[in-house]
């Protein structure tokens, strides 16, 4: 049995049939591998996935600081998504609002479920307007709302006409789709319909970009913006870390969209291309080499001598500033192995960062990625929509004549596609070495088994498996919330990450524990490849 088969061995026939396609061992690098992804989780398997509401309210809308995000539903969901993702924000300018410290909920009670909660929702909004006077309200519904038929879209229309403010309703009931991913899509659709393009600004700046899919966990977005601004880019808006409704409404004035988290935001990138002609480029500001590659790609895209020179200057400055620490941590960390299991893009991004310090990733996986996040966008035409994905609205915006602006000529665009990651993404598999195993929608048992089989020196995932991993004697770091650390982006962020990693691996406590495989045999097999599968 190889490692993959050993993991699957425990399952019953039915579960085996399902899971075998989600667990892939890469044996010959470069040979296309197909993985099953974005399909329903198996009940009872203790998966790490969240729900549609978590993706919409928690991930995409949550970080927008100057909008009131009102959860329409019973209290739990609003409470659990209250300031838990460590997305930082600071209000900018006089009178700017920051609602990130707040959790707003309609706190539905039993009678509201029986008789409908629309009236309560309206009344809650009256109260919000009285006390908080926001310029923008997002309404997010939880499971029961969709079932009892509250028309939150009608309420949003009423808010817009009564208060003359922006308002969008997101029907992101937890049961929709198969994971957070559906919520990302629903949030993308709502922002596209109601917010982007609603501002009056005109396209004017030469190097104006939007940063998409950067949620400013632990300050990542700020670090990235700092670099971009230093080089001379105008960052029109960030989706959605330290996000601002006031800025996002003018996102259509940018010349280029930079896509950091492909999974959660590619919809907006594509829709903005169709509607406003804005090209997008896949970037990755996690990892030193990747940051350099991304910055150079941008300079190539804009093809401006001054910009290119500034880019190189900034890269040189940043590298010089971290050189000593980079050498130190590299010398300390080289040779270690890691497991990386995060949401839908980070598992890829962090492999690059780990490589900067000589750490090899031996097992990796995503919670809610789609096939293109593993195999690259080349497979998009082959992905057949299933019942769950068909339930999520697919928008097809048409060109907006007033704001449509192409930055590149068609010829130049085609030419550049060969040079940089222009409107393409090659996926995580390409990064991974022979013999590594990738798991889609990993669960508690599989994580435990993989740790046992691969014995990585450190395991990066989230709070739900953190303590289980540590109980097994393996250092762990949370890549969702960074364990109260960060930023990890760009150059100085890479050093923060290396420091945190080394601190975890070298914690004295590990020396006093004995990992189980040193005490008794937990693996079965024989030497010399004579084992029977």
């Amino acid at each position: 049995m190889n490692e993959r088969e050993k993991v699957l061995d425990q399952y019953s026939g039915r579960v085996f049939k399902n899971r075998k396609d989600h667990i892939i061992e890469l044996d010959e690098a470069g040979v296309p591998q197909v993985i099953a992804a974005n399909s329903r989780s198996i009940p009872g398997l203790m998966v790490n996935r969240g729900c549609c509401y978590a993706g919409c309210k928690g991930v995409v809308l949550g970080p927008i600081a100057d909008a009131v995000v009102l959860t329409h539903g019973p209290i739990g969901c609003g409470f659990y998504s209250w300031g838990t993702r460590r997305n930082k924000a600071k209000p900018e300018g006089e009178g700017a609002k920051n609602y990130l410290q707040y959790c707003f909920s309609t706190d539905m009670q039993e009678p509201d479920i029986v008789f409908g909660g629309e009236k309560k929702l309206r009344q809650a909004i009256v109260e919000i307007m009285e006390i908080f006077q926001p310029k923008c309200i997002f309404i997010c519904s939880t499971c029961p709302v969709g079932l009892i038929g509250d028309d939150i879209q009608a309420v949003a229309r009423w808010v817009k006409s009564t208060y003359k403010i922006a308002c969008a309703a997101f029907s992101c009931e937890g049961y929709k789709g198969v994971s957070q991913s559906a919520g990302h899509h629903i949030a993308n659709n709502g922002l596209m319909k109601e917010i982007i393009g609603s501002g009056q600004a005109k396209n004017s700046k030469k190097f104006a970009v939007n940063l998409l899919g950067e949620y400013n966990i632990g300050g990542d977005g700020w670090e990235t913006e700092r670099l971009l601004k230093q080089i001379g880019y105008e960052v029109v808006s960030v989706f959605t870390g330290d996000g601002s409704f006031e800025k996002m409404k003018n996102a259509h004035t940018a010349n280029l969209n930079l896509v950091q988290c492909h999974r959660s935001i590619n919809y907006i990138a594509e829709m903005m291309k169709a509607k406003y002609g804005i090209d997008w480029i896949k970037v990755n500001f996690i990892g030193i080499d990747e940051t350099i590659r991304s910055l150079r790609s941008l300079a190539i895209y804009f093809d401006d001598a001054g910009l290119k020179q500034r880019t190189e200057e900034v890269i040189a400055d940043e590298l010089a500033a971290i050189e000593d620490q980079r050498q130190y941590y590299r010398s300390r960390l080289t040779g270690y192995t890691a497991g990386v299991f995060v949401g839908g893009s980070r598992s890829h991004h962090y492999q690059n960062l780990l490589l900067d310090f000589g750490i090899k990733t031996v097992i990796a996986g995503y919670e809610f990625a789609h096939r293109d996040d593993y195999e690259g966008r080349e497979v998009l035409p082959d992905i057949k929509p299933d019942a769950d994905s068909k339930n999520i609205e697919q928008l097809s915006p048409v060109a907006d004549e007033a704001h449509y602006h192409l930055t590149l000529s068609k010829e130049r665009f085609a030419e550049l596609q060969n040079e940089i990651d222009l409107e393409t993404y090659h996926g995580m598999f390409r990064e991974m070495a022979d013999g590594t195993v990738t798991v889609d929608d990993f669960n508690h048992y599989e994580t435990e088994k993989l740790i046992e089989l691969f014995q990585p020196d450190i395991f990066y995932s989230g709070i739900k498996d953190k303590y289980m991993i540590q109980k097994s004697g393996t250092p762990s770091r949370q890549l969702h919330s960074y364990d109260y650390s960060g930023p990890y982006a760009c150059f100085t962020g890479a050093i923060n990450f290396a420091r945190d990693t080394y601190m975890s691996i070298s914690a004295p406590a590990w020396k006093y524990l004995t990992p189980p495989w040193l005490v008794s045999s937990t693996l079965e097999g024989s030497i010399g490849g004579t084992e029977n599968a």
């Binding site: 425990q10 399952y11 039915r14 329903r40 989780s41 009940p43 009872g44 203790m46 998966v47 969240g50 729900c51 549609c52 509401y53 978590a54 009102l70 019973p74 209290i75 739990g76 969901c77 609003g78 409470f79 659990y80 209250w82 838990t84 006089e94 707040y102 959790c103 707003f104 909920s105 309609t106 706190d107 039993e110 479920i113 009344q123 809650a124 109260e127 006390i131 499971c143 029961p144 969709g146 937890g174 049961y175 929709k176 789709g177 198969v178 994971s179 019942a387 769950d388 508690h444 048992y445 435990e448 739900k464 498996d465 303590y467 289980m468 109980k471 524990l513 004995t514 189980p516 005490v519």
Partner: protein, 872 residues
């Protein structure tokens, strides 16, 4: 409704029902739980529990999708149960429903029945279902509902076993361990339900066990029906959720309800109940009791400093209130997020008695409260300590209050699972933490307070006579050279550096626009300077004006709302010119924070605008106040502002800073209150007050308020001069004013450029009569105001608008109709020409007699002004 909001929950002080159920199931041996609903529920709950307990928290989900909402979730739940059993081999499975399952009306008992039918091989696994819709209460109800489901679904062995059932609500694992030790010490055989003291606070074992190995076993639960008696340590559990009530109804096991054993009386009650049931009172227990008593005495002086806001589950709050009350730490607010009608009744007597000891007449007990309510109460009741879960941290940070973390969840610190609050030893530990927080609060400010009150205010002056005299002489000189303090005698010049754009107070009479060169009043400038630019500007102006003595920071926002810029500017300027006089204008909001530093920065003159000394009146003047990250409205805004203005003024005055207080007279709002303001600021040490007219600004909230007439202002000043010197010559200068009061040349220094003095023709000052503001289109005699321009014939620059009435210098000139012309002439007497559409013969003669050229024209203003200047 005693809540802020009726239909909106802002920052909830409660969690959902299934979370409580999942926690309770963690107290059962070899039990796994599964939530029937969408997978987000279990993910969110796992995340919240794991962060608190720092342990693996594994709760499965039936992962319902949209299809499940249509066809029902039976298939998912059956499959989930099967997988759970295959992978974890549990002895018990708790199935808790969620909002989704309850809303679509899932029949879980029927599904479990079906599961057993399909899988006879799993019959030995006990599957327990709890109906826990998220909208049917809070985590506290969920907790008891799961316990009730457990005792009602496990087959009981009813033969009498003489054991004692002990059922608790939400306790920390450490408190559960304590309870077990206590019961073991006292002797009676007991069954503790639930018991997650190991499962949620485990050690590091050689092999990690996926399945929780400890807790109350099925075997023990089965004996609960044959027990001698039940002690249920919860005052507020609903009868329909109470496991004790069920055991009594069903199996005749008598149930005694006790308070959570927090504090002396709570623990005494438990001890006495256990003694009656045959428990031994050992020496060890009595020692713990006497140690707690000793601690109560030891810390009573610090405990009594406390005014506590306590929040969380009803039982926790009640126990903590009793502990606080018996220690003289006054619980002034007790809040729970749960809907709990008995809550108020149960606590009011205790809290009233506690409050009475220290003359506190107001305390609040509320159920169904959120943190927005808690924050409002903390302000209103003068709370100085918060006790509850870590969600109170936001208030704690904002108000700089200590938060004693207890209960669930603790998300921002480690060790939440080991916090002790019950028993004598737990009460002692809990009390120590409170007393220490209060002690720290007192100690951290005590020396400083005393130093300020006695040492600085009293002792310094006599011992430093020489120094004080020097300083006084220096101050007198600086004041004498300050244009605002010398009746604008025109000898010395001042410059206002516009470096402070932001403001933290919105006054209803103010509308600040930066790029507004056509107005002259406070709050207006054409540009904002960086500290470095400000230095450059000062250097340029100083070179041209050797009589420049005073640098003022007057906005356009508030100098202290931009303290970094203000500090940098003052530092730079002081380095360049150590003799410069610094004069700062502020609304006073941030004075307590920065006054000390301002003195260090050599600021000798400060102007504070104080329009009212009564928050009720202030509330009409200020729209809002942004303070420490929060926007306050109404009287709380005015109250905060006022308190800071007055403490700031007093502090500055005590430290020899010359303080001027500006008062904007607002018709119908503070006009009768101004005397009070003057008296108050005099008392605190202000040297001069300046009562000013409000200039109505289009677009501001007070746009349509009539101006208080100059006559009225003069009368007010006369009345107030009895108390304090009055400033009579205020020009309500721009935020970037430069020059002497009578001759503002700020226009020359704007936008970092200036006319080269040697090349430019002499400047002509031209008065323009205009209605439209763009054309010379007004009859001279009908003009109520003049636009004043300066021009060298090549460029024309707007200086200011002069209101004829405002420039009127007194009764004898302005009061009579016939002398209106005199007022007009007086307004423009410093101009070399006047432009008007038409002009009467008599004024024309008078103007020419004054040496002012009269040009009648109908033209664009700029062109006409330039022509006039060329013709000179």
């Amino acid at each position: 409704m005693n809540k802020n909001f009726a239909d909106l929950n802002v920052n909830p002080c409660k969690m959902c029902v299934p979370l409580g159920a999942a926690t309770a199931f963690y107290g059962i041996r070899k039990c796994m739980s599964i939530l029937h609903g969408s997978q987000g529920c279990s993910t969110y709950i796992r995340r919240h529990m794991a962060t608190h307990y720092n342990e693996p928290v594994d709760i499965a989900s039936s992962s319902l999708t949209e299809q499940g909402t249509v066809f029902g979730g039976e298939k998912n739940l059956l499959q989930g149960l099967e997988n759970l059993i295959r992978l974890y081999e549990p002895e018990v499975i708790g199935v808790a429903t969620t909002c989704l399952a309850e809303t679509i009306g899932e029949d879980v008992p029927a599904m479990i029945k079906k599961f057993y039918e399909q899988h006879p091989e799993y019959r030995q696994v006990k599957i327990i279902n709890a109906s826990t819709a998220g909208y049917a209460g809070t985590q506290n109800e969920g907790f008891f509902r799961a316990l009730r489901a457990i005792v009602s679904q496990v087959e009981m062995r009813t033969e009498k076993n003489g054991k004692l059932n002990v059922i608790t609500g939400y306790l920390s694992p450490a408190d559960q361990r304590y309870l077990k030790e206590l019961l073991a010490e006292m002797g009676p055989e007991f069954i503790l339900l639930p018991d997650f003291s190991d499962n949620l606070d485990g050690g590091h074992e050689t092999m990690y066990q996926r399945l929780p190995q400890k807790g109350t076993s099925l075997e023990e639960i089965a004996q609960m029906g044959g027990a001698r008696c039940t002690l249920e340590l919860s005052r507020f559990v609903r009868p329909e959720d109470s496991p004790g009530a069920y055991l009594q109804q069903q199996y005749g096991v008598p149930c005694t309800r006790l308070d959570i054993p927090c504090g002396l009386r709570g623990m005494d009650a438990l001890l006495s109940a256990l003694t009656q049931l045959g428990g031994r009172q050992t020496e060890k227990i009595w020692q713990a009791r006497s140690r707690y008593l000793d601690a109560m005495v030891d810390s009573h002086k610090y405990s009594a400093l406390g005014r506590a806001l306590i929040f969380g589950e009803p039982d926790f709050v009640q126990g903590t209130v009793k502990l606080c009350a018996e220690n003289g730490l006054i619980p002034v607010a007790a809040l729970t997020g749960a809907v709990c009608p008995e809550f108020r009744q149960a606590l009011s007597e205790e809290m009233a008695a506690a409050a009475e000891i220290q003359f506190i007449d107001k305390f609040v007990i509320e159920d169904d409260a959120d943190f927005a309510r808690a924050e409002a109460l903390a302000v209103a009741l003068g709370v100085n300590i918060l006790i509850g879960n870590s969600d109170g941290r936001r208030i704690a940070e904002k108000m700089h209050l200590p938060l004693i973390r207890a209960s669930f969840p603790i998300h921002d610190q480690v060790g939440g699972q080991r916090i002790r609050t019950i028993g004598y030893s737990g009460s002692l530990a809990f009390l120590d933490r409170m007393a220490n927080a209060l002690l720290l609060q007192r100690a951290s400010g005590f020396r400083e307070d005393m130093y300020k009150k006695y040492y600085l205010a009293g002792a310094t002056k006599p011992t430093q006579i020489g120094l004080a005299t020097d300083k006084a002489a220096m101050l007198a000189k600086k004041t004498a050279e300050h244009p605002c303090f010398t009746c604008g005698q025109g000898k010395y010049a001042r410059i206002h550096l516009p470096i402070a754009p932001a403001c933290n107070v919105q006054c209803n009479y103010c509308l600040r626009k930066y790029d507004c060169p056509n107005e002259s009043r406070p709050g207006v400038t054409t540009e904002i300077l960086s500290p470095e630019e400000a230095l450059m500007k000062y250097q340029r102006v100083k070179a041209d004006m050797p009589n420049l003595r005073v640098v003022g920071i007057a906005g356009p926002g508030d100098s202290l709302a931009n303290f970094a810029a203000t500090k940098a500017t003052l530092t730079l300027l002081h380095e360049f010119d150590p003799d410069v006089t610094f004069c700062l204008s502020t609304n006073g909001l941030m004075l307590p924070a920065y006054a000390e530093e301002l003195i260090r920065l050599q600021v000798t003159h400060v102007t504070i605008t104080i329009n009212a000394v009564d928050p009720k009146i202030g509330a009409q003047i200020y729209k809002y106040v942004d303070y420490m990250g929060t926007r306050y409205h109404g009287e709380s805004a005015a109250g905060i502002l006022l308190a800071n203005q007055l403490t700031g003024l007093q502090y500055l005055a005590q430290h020899d800073v010359v303080c001027k207080v500006n008062i904007v007279a607002l018709k119908g709002i503070n006009e009768t209150h101004i005397e009070d303001v003057v008296r108050k600021v005099k008392e605190l040490g202000a040297k001069i007050t300046n009562i000013m007219q409000m200039i109505p600004v289009a677009g501001s909230a007070f746009e349509h308020i009539p101006m208080v007439s100059l006559k009225e202002i003069a009368a007010m000043r006369a009345r107030c001069s009895v108390y304090l010197e009055q400033m009579m010559h205020c020009r309500q200068c721009r935020a970037d004013a430069a020059g002497t009061l009578d001759h503002d040349v700020s226009i020359l220094y704007r936008r970092a450029e200036r006319l080269p003095a040697d090349e430019a023709a002499p400047l002509q000052r031209v008065a323009v009569a205009t209605k439209s503001g763009t054309l010379v289109d007004q009859h001279f005699g009908q003009a109520n105001e003049f636009y004043i321009y300066e021009s060298d014939g090549i460029q024309a620059r707007f200086i200011e608008r002069r209101n004829v009435v405002r420039y009127c210098q007194g009764k004898e000139i302005c009061e009579t109709k016939t002398d209106r012309i005199e007022a007009l002439l007086h307004t423009i007497k410093d101009c070399s020409s006047v432009l008007a559409m038409r002009i009467g013969d008599s004024p024309q003669r008078k103007l020419e007699a004054m040496g002012i050229r009269v040009i009648a024209t109908y033209d664009r203003i700029e062109d006409a002004v330039k022509k006039a200047a060329q013709g000179a």
